[in-house]
């Protein structure tokens, strides 16, 4: 997959995340004293270039959604830094953060829960315009109509209510809402998982078109690796709160280094009977451990067929194996199996 970024211009980093942690305390005991933590996101670091799409994949409980929400400050980070276009936003007050809210936006997963069912579509899309005082009166209406048409809906949809629309249309309304502030960066949190197959392509194509038209940068969070590979320039794989591998889409598929990535790729169903039956399936045993009490050392070791003694004791470092292909696995030091 070609880089959309012109090779001549230096690659500018729009978002950098350093050692980000998000723990959720669990209160036990009579007086609700904190007993332990759910280590939802545990020390992840990555960066996203301007204009590119970084995919973030993993299964449930891996922390990818939490990471997305922490980056956009819906959750307060427990530790670490979030640097957006040079500004460190991880501990800014809501007041200081407000201008950044115009530059980073989010699209959500559930088309039925992400729109306020008591507001008309026009009001939903108009809300960000009102919050940031971007336009008034006639101009505001025009903006709303423009946005509706840009996402493939029509002007007369503005007076309708969300429940009158299908899932795909609602997602488009959500996209229109986030575009109203003209953001630079959009976090897409599983935006198509709840949609029908034939509608998913519509939404993904639209996201791609919008990216080209407005020079948007995406963080695309999903569990469907096929779709993520299609839309992303680079992909990060998360497992139990940790980043285990990060590489270009092509690189990740052709040369997966981490055992979990390998298993993940082999588990994804391919709509082609011959290919599917010819495939070497790596079937992982057991279930994902709990993020409250993750395994010591490398978290994946309980399900990894290559695990050895070092894996129990020492956490592997997320390091560059060449050309920006990052992996966290002790096997890398031994020479890949």
């Amino acid at each position: 997959m070609e880089n959309r970024i012109n090779e001549a211009t230096p690659k500018e980093i729009l978002l950098e995340v350093r050692n980000l942690k998000k723990y959720f305390p669990i209160h036990k005991g009579i007086f609700g004293t904190k007993k332990t933590n759910v280590q939802a996101v545990d020390d992840i670091s990555f960066y996203i270039y301007k204009g590119e799409t970084l995919g973030l994949v993993g299964e449930s409980g891996c922390g990818k959604s939490t990471a997305g929400r922490t980056i956009i400050r819906l959750y307060e980070p427990t530790a670490g830094e979030i640097i957006f276009d040079g500004a460190e936003i991880s501990s800014m007050s809501e007041n200081d953060l407000k201008p950044f809210r115009k530059r980073m936006q989010m699209i959500f997963q559930d088309p039925y829960a992400s729109l306020n069912s008591r507001m008309t579509v026009g009001d939903i899309i108009g809300e960000p315009i009102d919050i940031h005082n971007l336009a008034e009166g006639e101009e505001r209406q025009k903006m709303i109509y423009d946005l509706l048409e840009r996402v493939g809906l029509s002007k007369d949809h503005a007076s309708r209510y969300p429940h009158e629309f299908s899932g795909g249309q609602r997602q488009r309304i959500g996209i229109a809402r986030s575009l109203a502030v003209e953001p630079d960066f959009i976090i897409c949190d599983e935006p198509i998982s709840a949609l029908d197959v034939s509608i998913q392509a519509q939404v993904v194509n639209m996201l791609e078109d919008l990216q080209e038209e407005f020079g948007l940068t995406y963080l695309f969070i999903a569990h469907d690796l096929s779709m993520v590979k299609h839309i992303s320039d680079r992909i990060g794989v998360m497992y139990l709160g940790k980043l285990v591998e990060l590489s270009t889409s092509k690189g990740l598929y052709e040369k997966p280094l981490h055992p979990y990535t390998q298993a993940l790729l082999s588990a994804i169903p391919i709509p082609d009977p011959e290919v599917t039956h010819a495939r070497q399936r790596i079937v992982l045993e057991g279930d994902v451990p709990s993020p409250i009490n993750p395994p010591s050392g490398c978290r994946f070791r309980t399900r990894c067929q290559y695990a050895f003694d070092r894996c129990t004791v020492e956490e592997p470092v997320f390091q560059d194996m060449g050309e920006g292909h990052m992996v966290a696995c002790h096997l890398m030091d031994k020479g890949k199996v």
């Binding site: 929400r69 956009i72 819906l74 953060l97 407000k98 809210r101 115009k102 980073m104 936006q105 989010m106 959500f108 997963q109 559930d110 829960a113 992400s114 729109l115 306020n116 069912s117 008591r118 507001m119 809300e127 960000p128 919050i131 940031h132 493939g152 809906l153 029509s154 949809h157 309708r160 209510y161 009158e164 629309f165 249309q169 959500g174 809402r177 986030s178 502030v181």
Partner: protein
């Protein structure tokens, strides 16, 4: 699957894009409220309750203006008149009614009280009274009253008109002068009931408003902020909840004096608590929904989120709660007035009407029945309405 039809060559032509219906919305749109109303309409009891409430509201506002009496007009001559009058016919076509206290009244055939007829002679020893009216001589002998004191439905007096005994009533009509009769002081119970309705509905309104504003905002803020603040605010609520209402009202009355205002302050300062808890619960459950998260990422202020997102989405539960708490407020006020802690004489509340009636309960049962009926009917109506609202506003039951 095949309908036998002829496929003409033109049918093989491809269709143009305009012929298709892309993104067209087919079904008629129903907003949440329209759908809820539709569901409510189907519930007959609720609609009945709603109808009664509306009727009562009209009567309470307009009724006293149309009545010739005010709630405090007394006419001791007309005290304790029942709503149903037993009439005895006289030869000249006029009718008389014998009062339970052995007074005699002239009544028109349709039931209008035309006036009291004073007795000309009273014999306490023989227990008779004599009247002269339009040339008729009427004697009421109430010796039987003492004999038949504890026998229900036995005659307590004998009536003799011009020498002829006339014990059974010729006609029983509704009292057209005082629809619900009068009380011990001769005040029209009907008008007083309507004034009582005013008071009850006023209580209902105030309780509703206070609950809504204070309770909703308090609960909303508590739920939205969460954490320790929420904990603290809810403990305050718990403490207020433990104060016994009666004690509190008495204390207030000592401080502020008795009256409607005191009751309003008392109820208002206690009732919002339940609403606060409810709204807090609603907010907690909605808070993590994605449209709230979306509002936050857009940069909406907490106030905006509360007012435009959280509260409108809790309206269903809020309205149901309001409808269900109103009967409680009305009943509490009635009770307080009944035991003397509420509005003071001569103001009429259903509670005071009831308590006034206690003195003559055995003889004048209607005086208690009327306010009781009003209280029951109003409370039931709000309950039915609230029940129906709860079903109608529940989004999960939406088909």
């Amino acid at each position: 699957m095949t309908d036998q039809f002829k496929i003409t060559p033109d049918l093989w032509e491809p269709i143009v894009i305009e012929d298709r219906e892309k993104d067209k919305i087919v079904r008629k749109s129903l907003t949440y409220w329209q759908d809820a109303w539709r569901r409510l309409k189907k519930n007959y009891l609720s609609m009945l309750g709603l109808g009664v409430i509306i009727l009562l509201a009209f009567a309470a506002i307009a009724g006293p203006m149309l009545s010739p009496y005010s709630y405090s007009d007394q006419d001791l001559n007309m005290s304790n008149m029942p709503p149903r009058l037993e009439l005895h016919r006289l030869e000249d076509g006029t009718f008389v009614h014998v009062h339970k206290e052995y007074r005699l009244y002239e009544v028109s055939e349709s039931g209008e009280l035309l006036g009291r007829i004073q007795h000309t002679k009273e014999d306490m020893i023989n227990k008779t009274r004599e009247f002269e009216f339009n040339g008729n001589e009427i004697v009421i002998d109430y010796k039987l009253a003492a004999i038949n004191k504890d026998v229900p439905n036995a005659p307590k007096f004998t009536l003799t008109i011009n020498g002829q005994p006339n014990d059974t009533a010729d006609k029983t009509v509704w009292n057209k002068t005082y629809f619900f009769g009068t009380d011990t002081l001769g005040r029209d119970i009907f008008v007083r009931s309507l004034y009582g309705a005013r008071i009850s509905l006023l209580i209902a309104l105030v309780a509703t408003l206070v609950q809504f504003f204070i309770g909703v905002i308090y609960g909303g803020v508590s739920g939205y902020i969460g954490g320790r603040v929420d904990n603290f605010m809810m403990r305050v609520v718990d403490i207020i909840d433990t104060i016994p209402l009666m004690l509190y009202v008495i204390l207030l009355m000592v401080v502020l004096g008795a009256g409607l205002l005191t009751i309003i302050i008392a109820l208002g300062s206690v009732y919002w608590v339940r609403m606060a808890r409810l709204v807090r619960g609603q907010v907690l459950s909605i808070k993590e929904n994605e449209f709230i998260l979306a509002a936050r990422t857009l940069g909406a202020s907490p106030w905006r989120i509360m007012v435009r997102h959280l509260i409108p989405n809790s309206m269903g539960a809020i309205i149901v709660s309001l409808a269900m708490m109103v009967p409680s407020a009305i009943f509490t006020e009635s009770f307080l007035s009944f035991i003397g802690l509420g509005v003071s004489a001569p103001q009429a509340s259903w509670g005071t009407l009831a308590s006034d009636a206690m003195g003559g309960l055995r003889t004048y049962a209607y005086q208690l029945f009327v306010p009781s009926f009003f209280i029951s009917m109003t409370v039931l109506s709000f309950n039915f309405l609230g029940d129906g609202l709860r079903d109608a506003l529940d989004p999960r039951l939406r088909k």
